[in-house]
Symmetry: D2
Subunit: 348 residues, 4 copies
């Protein structure tokens, strides 16, 4: 399913110098379907070579042909194509709308349009059918706009989706989130070295609301929210990559623990069925290790695209409790955006 | 209330070279009532000068007169006195019993005897009346044995005690615990640098059971456990000192947030009324900072003896949620043991 | 030597909301001679109460009377007094000059004026006589301006001063510096968690030049630089506080190791002789611990004002090598500025 | 150059459950020439399945066929083959000798035999000709024993080798070493979180002596040590993987900086010429980034097998100074052992 270079689908990266933009570049540099046609960033970087403008933070070097690409401003001056947005929410709203207006297929990681009724908020394995919402979008020239959820929400909804069949009622979440989730420069080292911060601006609201849309049903062109209650507490911890969440769940009809583990382990979605390039083999891994999952051990699981779950045990207040771990910038951002684009391309 | 040197009460430290033992020494070196008469440790250290035997981990140097004291084995070969135990639970049970049998007043931080029906499990401000349980102890020669709870439990019960008046029903706890809680060598750096571990052996059980005894009532010489339900999930994080807990609570009759804050801020216990040397001025500080409490900012509050609470807000599944922070080796161990000894001395 | 409140010398803090400013406030809140009369910061903070404007990073709470002080802009609108400057170098140059022009005694921690021929660059124990340089300053109204060195340089010059008597020729320095040295927000956590950065802008130049002025001689109103050669390599490490330096030294006449240790241990300066409030009892501690000094163990030594040295051993390329550790924001900044002010006050 | 499974060369791993052993397994699981035939560890693990016995610390899961292999004791009870030793030095000496006596080709990472006159101490790109030393070994049955250097020494000798041509005279090294270098459990988190330790037992001696053998010449079956002087200071820092070294060098005839950079960048060794499976494309990368190299950015360079050098600049005491970074458990241990085995296999 690899395409020849000349057949590859050109894509643009909006916010190419930021943290998410860099992860997009690293992932797209080896992508079998897409090829980076343009890099867009702020006025400050525009006109420079990417290699000069960027403060490269990825553990592998900048692909050399990317290092020499000239950065453009975030204006739709190139031919229509897919535009991956790693823009900061302070500017993403307007720029993404402009690109969609100009006929681009905007695949965004920013929060600005996520909760808009006609914008799909999609995790590839969870609610690919929600992509149909784009039919209700009014952009001219064939422009469309799809989004993926917040980095914590993606791991959580993946873990919850296979539990929906048991009548999931209540979800109590406490997160322990990596610093890369805050972008760059993000969290000051003085705030986090030898410390924990029990607050991430806007995060608890996202964790409590976005899953209701994602786990909801698309009926007659409208999302009917899932009838779940979620309560979230979000913490920042001194970890580079990998968001952990400690979750308690209550069901209308309490299943057996084995039912849950089987539901997780056997879960597959459209991306697996379609064998999409960025799809993990198994979206959810249940690990029996006594002290699993852990950021260091499990963030790289299945191309950094799998959620690892562990420590399923009874809860005296809910039915069960367990811990989940996912790579916040890959599974929780870039990888899920890529899956969305791959689904869109496959459905065309 | 400082006593002359010649009037100071002699004390022995069991497990003097360990992490908790070192903290005992640091705290006792400046204590106005107690003076260290003997240091006991394992056969391996016995006979050596303390300064040679110990791998000193405290941020202030070993008091010089302590550095030159000769370490003894953990045998009650000295005159009866107070014995502070910082022993590891692998050996604490037997050694502490032996000292109590020989007439010592054993004030223990180890878990071994905590849940025994006739052993007081006391947090000075929470249940000082439980010290009366010693009347049911059968040690000869006036020996008695009292314990303080697990390091996480102390902070949690302090935070919960003022809420009991509102009919507290359910408590959901997720902890983020410092590495010093595991003693020395404790957690391997390879396991915790750039990582989080969602498991601490035996910890969740302690957090779910010890508070029921502490918050219970002493009726006719027996503890009647509090009718609370607690569910706990315990994580280790790369922080040196200071345990955080994210707590959700449900009441029989939901109070106003202001009631809770007032209850915390106005809370005082016996140690405050008696003005005990190790007592914090206020056992509980409510901080209004948006991202408080934090280990780095609040572990030293009020001589490392106060619990700092912050972020009180509604919870969609329980009534309220909030975060608490306490110094795990001082408030959570040594300081609470000292308070217990001070209460015992005052009541004699 | 504590003064009555009404007799305390009023002081102003320039850059009061910054990292160094906060440390100034913490140290001055308990200072026996000085009392904070005004807090100055940028336009952004001016007019607000200090407690609201500051992102307080110190481990002890803001002194309450300070929290309620109203912040002023950095204009000399108050009565002449001592002005402690914790300003960022981007603005320190001009503001400090303005205050000196208006007759203030400016005691600065910023780098801007350090190398000016008529500005004393002083470490209290090393070159207090250099304060005489102010006689050559041309500020009207009695204004004067003195500086203390860079945070790394202070520890290094303290360690080197007692070695000068042996004909010190060459000094090779590699530093491992804490993140608090970069101010706030300073180093991004993404850059330093699980990482080391072998570069600190401008730092190596300072370490190679400032000591030559400090260790030089004041002859006829001019500093004659010390005839030393220093080569420096500066690294940032994931440590909150405490700068380490690995030093190799060569002498014209190689002394015995015992000579060096004796020189360090017996070293006392003017601040010790005058018993100044901020002076450590011993400026230099030599620790015989096999793996000493360490940031966690030694940064708090002697009120955070002592340099701890360890691991003196022969060097096959130089004569000796050893490691030193000092608290970078206290001994390396605020504490040394206070000593300078205390020397000035004493000499008046 | 990939071999069919049935043609793969069987290898044994000694010390399979340790840190180095795990890295051997991870690397050998995808090796085109070698296939793991047996796993040996201590009595405590022997008889168990590897997956049960090991505390797996690698970021990728245990290869499933390895997880089910039964662990043997460290006795040469299998057919003669290559034995990779990741044994701790407390037991490596004897066990490795036993295997060599029994006819095994022992490729060791342990320090025990490194400095023995007839044991090659080899970095594949630096001194592959030293492998000829085995001709002087007296093991029966064709047994041979080769070693690779200490983890810090490998990076250092790689960086120095291309400089030998300029008459390298003196080398001053200060290391900042990752915790994985100490094995497991290794460094206690209480010792290294928010700390630096300026001492690693035995490390400075190795850094000062091993390179002299490696950079020496094999003349008439004997190594003539290089006429270099090295002085080392070794520090442990809170980094998971990646050893940094700050190096100053002096030459008999000072070259231009461009000569050095060219020498590094153009350096290739036998492993590159033979295109060995574990060989990096370029053993040395010179990075022009202002603050390069860094553990997080460069430890993965070229399959974790390249040394990254940066910040070449003049030194006022030596000729030049620069910083180097290499992955301590891959390039600094397992990868270099594999290269040695690949060289041996190629030369057979």
């Amino acid at each position: 399913m690899t395409r020849d270079i000349q057949d590859k689908i050109p894509v643009v990266i909006l916010g190419a110098t930021g943290c998410v933009g860099q992860k997009f570049i690293q992932a797209l540099a080896v992508h079998p379907w897409f090829s980076i046609a343009a890099l867009c960033a702020s006025e400050r970087s525009a006109g420079k070579n990417y290699g000069e403008a960027v403060n490269w933070l990825m553990p592998k070097p900048i692909p050399s042909h990317i290092a020499n690409m000239k950065i453009q401003t975030c204006m739709p001056s190139m031919g229509r194509c897919i535009a991956f947005s790693g823009l900061d929410s302070s500017v993403a709203g307007e720029i993404e709308s402009t690109f969609a207006q100009e006929g681009f297929t905007v695949v965004s990681n920013a929060r600005n349009h996520r909760m808009h009724p006609s914008v799909p908020l999609v995790v590839g394995e969870v609610n690919p059918d929600h992509l149909d919402l784009v039919k209700g979008q009014k952009f001219p020239n064939g422009g469309i706009l799809v989004t993926n959820p917040n980095c914590s929400v993606i791991g959580i909804t993946l873990a919850l989706k296979p539990l929906m069949q048991f009548g999931l009622e209540s979800v109590h979440v406490v997160t322990l989130q990596a610093v890369s989730g805050a972008g760059y420069p993000g969290v000051a080292s003085l705030d986090i070295v030898d410390n924990v911060i029990p607050f991430i601006s806007g995060e608890e609201e996202k964790v409590e609301t976005e899953p209701l849309k994602i786990l909801g049903n698309l009926i007659d062109g409208t999302i009917q929210q899932a009838s779940l209650k979620i309560s979230a507490q979000c913490n920042r911890v001194p970890v580079t990559d990998g968001h952990m969440a400690c979750i308690s769940v209550k069901f209308r009809h309490k299943p057996n623990p084995d039912d849950l583990i089987h539901a997780w382990e056997s879960f597959r979605g459209e991306p697996q069925k379609l064998n999409l390039p960025t799809a993990p083999e198994k979206p959810i891994h249940y690990s029996t290790g006594l002290n699993h999952p852990q950021p260091k051990l499990h963030r790289h699981a299945d191309k950094e695209m799998a959620v690892t779950i562990g420590r399923l045990r009874p809860c005296s207040l809910f039915d069960y409790k367990f811990a989940i771990l996912s790579h916040n910038t890959m599974r929780g951002a870039v990888g899920s955006a890529l899956l969305n684009a791959e689904l869109l391309v496959t459905n065309l």
